[in-house]
């Protein structure tokens, strides 16, 4: 099999480089990597574009001779910091793979609490090294991001194909609403459901809204999104600040934008307590 896979490919006469890639996971559910294995129909084509040298979910063993590293998960422990730095040293291209790697993901919800509280709640008296959950780029520079919780395999294939061709990788810069309308969905606000579709980067083909579940923003902010207006729209539809902030904070993609709204919640809580 490896013979046919290793045969050099070209596209329109341009040689296509078959990079050695490795997959790694930090604190995560490894669900993004599983997405790749899910697509049996194109798996062989995928492997013919990339030589996978390390992939815990798909193979045993592996080497540390790779050019592209796909790293899933957020950084929550010191040993992960060290591993990530080492990966960065080896990889020519470091890909933040999935929402946890890009923004901290669901993991970063624990950052709302004190780490002592978190450790006690989850592990009791068992000693454990765990700290705030951070995206990869808070530790090392990241070259490429693949958004989503989980990543959308069709998009991953598109990106991988572009990487192999040496073409520029691009994402939709518009929000999920574009795809949601194209899919003919009823706007979830009409059904009384909160949704972050208007400010979240598209590319998921409105996966959740098409299944009548509001968007939680797993792909992070769309370019030039209008979060101030989004929050006031949600308030107009009767959603509380807590509901809104919970949603905005879920995956960490909006963390740079929500300080003002979070403060508003804290202030109100304080007012209620006194």
């Amino acid at each position: 099999m490896s013979d046919t896979l290793a045969k050099p490919k070209t596209y329109l006469g341009v040689p296509v480089h078959r990079p050695k890639v490795a997959f790694f996971e930090l604190s995560s559910c490894e669900g993004c990597q599983l997405q790749l294995l899910n697509n049996e129909a194109t798996l062989l084509d995928f492997l013919s574009l990339m030589e996978v040298v390390r992939f815990r979910e798909g193979m045993t063993g592996g080497t540390d001779d790779y050019e592209i590293a796909f790293v899933e998960g957020s950084v929550t422990r010191q040993d992960e910091v060290e591993r990530l730095k080492k990966i960065r040293e080896t990889a020519k291209v470091l890909v933040a793979f999935g929402s946890c790697a890009c923004f901290g993901g669901v993991n970063q919800l624990k950052n709302r609490f004190s780490m002592d509280q978190v450790r006690k709640e989850v592990y009791g008296d068992h000693p454990i090294d765990t700290d705030v959950a951070r995206p990869l780029e808070s530790v090392v520079p990241v070259d490429l991001r693949i958004y989503g919780c989980p990543v959308k395999k069709e998009e991953v294939e598109k990106i991988v194909t572009r990487l192999a061709l040496g073409s520029e990788v691009f994402y939709p810069r518009y929000p999920v609403c574009m795809e949601c309308k194209a899919n003919g969905n009823i706007c979830l606000f009409e059904l009384g459901e909160p949704c972050l579709g208007p400010i979240t980067r598209a590319g998921c083909d409105s996966w959740c809204p098409s299944n009548r579940a509001g968007c939680w923003g797993c792909r992070g902010p769309a370019d030039d999104m209008n979060i101030t207006q989004m929050v006031s729209i949600m308030e107009k539809y009767g959603f509380s600040r807590e509901t809104i902030v919970d949603r905005l904070e879920c995956f960490g993609g909006f963390s740079a934008h929500i300080e003002t709204f979070r403060d508003a919640v804290d202030i109100r809580e304080k007012v209620q307590k006194t």
């Binding site: 596209y11 329109l12 006469g13 341009v14 572009r162 061709l165 040496g166 073409s167 520029e168 691009f170």
Partner: protein, 299 residues
Amino acid sequence: MGSKLAFSDVVNQKHHRRSDLGAFEHTYKAEITSIHRLTDLENLYRIKIIDAAERERFEFQPGQFLMLELPGIGEAPFSISSSPSRRGDVELCIRNAGSLTSFLSRVERGTHVGLRGPFGTSFPMEKMHGQNILLIAGGLGIAPLRAPIAHVQENRSRFNNVDIIYGTKDPAHLLFTYQYDMWRADDIRLSVIVDKADAAWTGRVGMITKILEEMFAERGDAFFQNTCAIICGPPVMFKFVCNMLNTKDVPMQKMFVSLERRMHCGMGKCCRCNVGSTYTCLSGPVFDYWTVMNLKEAI
């Protein structure tokens, strides 16, 4: 009891006297016959339509553009850089600036590309006969200007004084340096100026407007009243140049500029190239400055 409606097949159906529907997405298959590296960013591609009959029919006017497509990679508009009288192939001067052009910079001679067009308006060269001509280019603006330059060279006696003013960021970005002597040999006055000199540069340093100012001082007002200008380059540059020329009473309708916009169709459908509410692909890319002044957001 049922009633099956008749299917109307539009494939190759003559829709208008002027065009058939099949033409919309028709691509001339063409071959890249040579790739000439001009700078580290720009290449000059010579491209030949493969089908002899299609090649025979193909003609264009200076200032018009083609849509060039690499299947699966993308399609974009490029103004034609070669002489309209040159039959058999076209030359496109292309900067590596996006995903299509970056892939294009890696293909080899012999690769097939798709061409659609030519599209758009052109520089009205005939109307400029008997006049002084100012051909002004900034940066990559020399690419669309090269077709009118070729026309002027081939019909030199029909024009009065001809000046080319060409400015770039630095000497390394100068394009078509190998042609400067030929232009001069055809009695065209060429002034080249760079923003920033390098160690080897002995020419002029500064902005294009500096050359224009000198020209204003040197030539009388009457000269400019019989002058047509073609200006290609970044909008901020042609705005300055056109306004300067207007102080010498060069009529705005005798100054021509070429606008650059993103385009997907070239045929007034996708709206990507709209300026104000005008389609650059249909009403442009060549506009006279009076029209540009009346377009919102053109410059």
